[in-house]
Amino acid sequence: MAEPQRARPKPTPETQHFWDGAKAGELRLQRCDACAHVYFPPRPFCPSCASRKVSIFKASGKGFLYSYVINHRPAAPGFTPPYAIAVVELAEGPRMMSNIIDCPQTPEALELDMKLEVAFEALDDKITLPVFRPAKG
């Protein structure tokens, strides 16, 4: 039997730009042209003011560790426990779930508010996930 696979996201028309961006090595967010609100997850209107005039832009990829758990059991298919499931607050404001790489998956190493920067992990030729690592310097 094949190794159980990590859950694969399946883009929709409204989220395709995000996944295209990740594949191209860009973390893409959306900003409202009317009220300047920056939001996530993707949608073709502003959840703050309802304007349909919104723009996609490349985010800085910088953020900090807002919260996390270190999952021991049950482990998701394709993951080896213990592994951290993190929520990152991006410099532009929105938060997103992700994983933390290049860092021990321990409470000692994973300090809340530590600075992070985006990295990209290709799952296959279609999907690349944005993950985060401790920021250099």
Partner: protein, 379 residues
């Protein structure tokens, strides 16, 4: 909604709770419903309104042989039944139906006749949470905890004390799944599930069900049981994605539903004799105490660690033992409601002497949804 216009006149859980491998989920609905009908002294044909969650109203109504003129299939997770109570009270007041049956059942442990939960890969959860290794509530519900602890100075020992105190209540309850006393050290030495939470800070996984019957307060006096009045109600939803909550320092849904219910009931916090806060995991009573306005969040951990919510304490909380020690089929809200009703009837195994007002606060789908019901036994 006007307070005390609708009452609970029937309430019962399934005949058995715990591990029930010989009964399907649908039959657990029926078992709870039949017990509640008997409790109310009614016939199935008296029921003209029906609400349930996860299973559809048509499924359960057909199985039971009910012909309703009002149905509600609101399914927002474990607090769905708090929302059903609110909706049923409004429907009865509006004259849409006279006698509402609300059922919950879940073969959460044995998985007999229960569809497994799944997340579509093209849903927002499937795209923006599932790929990062969330796998069931233990990996999702506790995600806000570390931020909450840092913001308010809550300690691991305080969060462990939630489980200790609830086990004290469970010890008084013959139907509780876990009754042996535990210490803070036991909790902090139990198996790690998802840091910072260990096994004893996570809810049980069991089978069971429960049902409620509501009718107008004017009719309620003719029923065999002491009526329990719906004094106040509130509900809200926030987001199905735990990562997208406005803040991890509180729940927006809690902060909406709770105050609505208190306002409608016209009560202050000091009026509350008995409190249920849905405890799928050990942090929820802390969120609840803070978000419902009982005290600042900073004080919630010490309040519980100091014993204020244990038997004999000034604010009896989760007096059946809670989802941590009583039972948790997956959607615990119905069992919290059942305990509030027992307390208001004066028949709970760990009865709070003289209790007149009970607040029952639910959460659903991680922090996706919330419902709050204020009950009273005085009209």
């Amino acid at each position: 909604m006007r307070k005390n216009q609708v009452a609970v006149v029937g309430a019962a859980e399934t005949t058995e709770l715990g591990v029930i491998p010989n009964v399907s989920q649908l039959q657990l609905h029926a078992d709870a419903a039949l017990n509640a009908i008997a409790d109310a002294g009614l016939k199935l044909s008296d029921i003209d309104g029906f609400a349930t969650a996860v299973e559809t109203p048509q499924q359960v109504c057909h199985y039971l042989g009910i012909r309703p003129t009002w149905v509600d299939g609101t399914s927002v997770g474990g607090c769905s039944f708090m929302l059903h109570v609110r909706h049923a009270a409004a429907a009865i007041e509006a004259g849409l139906c006279k006698t509402v049956l609300i059922t919950h059942a879940e073969s959460g442990k044995s998985m007999i006749g229960k569809a497994p939960r799944s997340t579509a890969p093209d849903s927002l959860n499937g795209q923006f949470e599932a790929p990062f290794g969330v796998y069931g509530p233990p990996s999702m519900f506790p995600i806000p905890v570390l931020r909450f602890m840092k913001t308010y100075g809550i300690t691991h020992e305080q969060l462990a004390s939630v489980a200790v105190v609830q086990r004290e209540w469970a010890a008084k309850n013959p139907r509780a799944m876990m009754k042996d006393p535990i210490t803070v050290a036991d909790v902090l030495n139990s198996r790690m599930i998802a840091y910072p939470f260990r096994l004893l800070q996570c809810c049980l996984v069991t089978d069971g069900g429960g049902a409620l019957i509501l009718t107008s307060a004017d009719r309620a006096k003719d029923f065999p049981r002491k009526p329990v009045y719906i004094m106040g109600t509130g509900e809200s939803v926030e987001t199905p994605m735990v990562s997208q909550m406005e803040t991890f320092n509180s729940s927006r849904a809690f902060k909406t539903a709770g105050p609505l219910a208190f306002k409608e009931a016209g009560i202050a916090h000091k009026d509350v004799d008995h409190l249920m806060i849905y405890d799928a995991f050990a942090h929820l009573p802390l969120f609840g105490l803070g978000d419902l306005g009982f005290m600042p969040h900073e004080e919630t951990g010490q309040f519980i660690a100091d014993g204020n919510t244990r038997p004999g304490g000034k604010l009896p909380l989760n007096t059946n033992g809670g989802g941590l020690s009583y039972m948790h089929s997956g959607m615990y809200g119905m069992y919290a409601l059942q305990e509030s009703v027992r307390q208001m009837r004066g028949i709970a195994p760990a009865q709070v002497a003289g209790a007149k007002i009970s607040v029952c606060h639910g959460v659903g789908g991680m922090f996706a949804a919330s419902g709050t019901i204020v009950f009273t036994n005085e009209r």
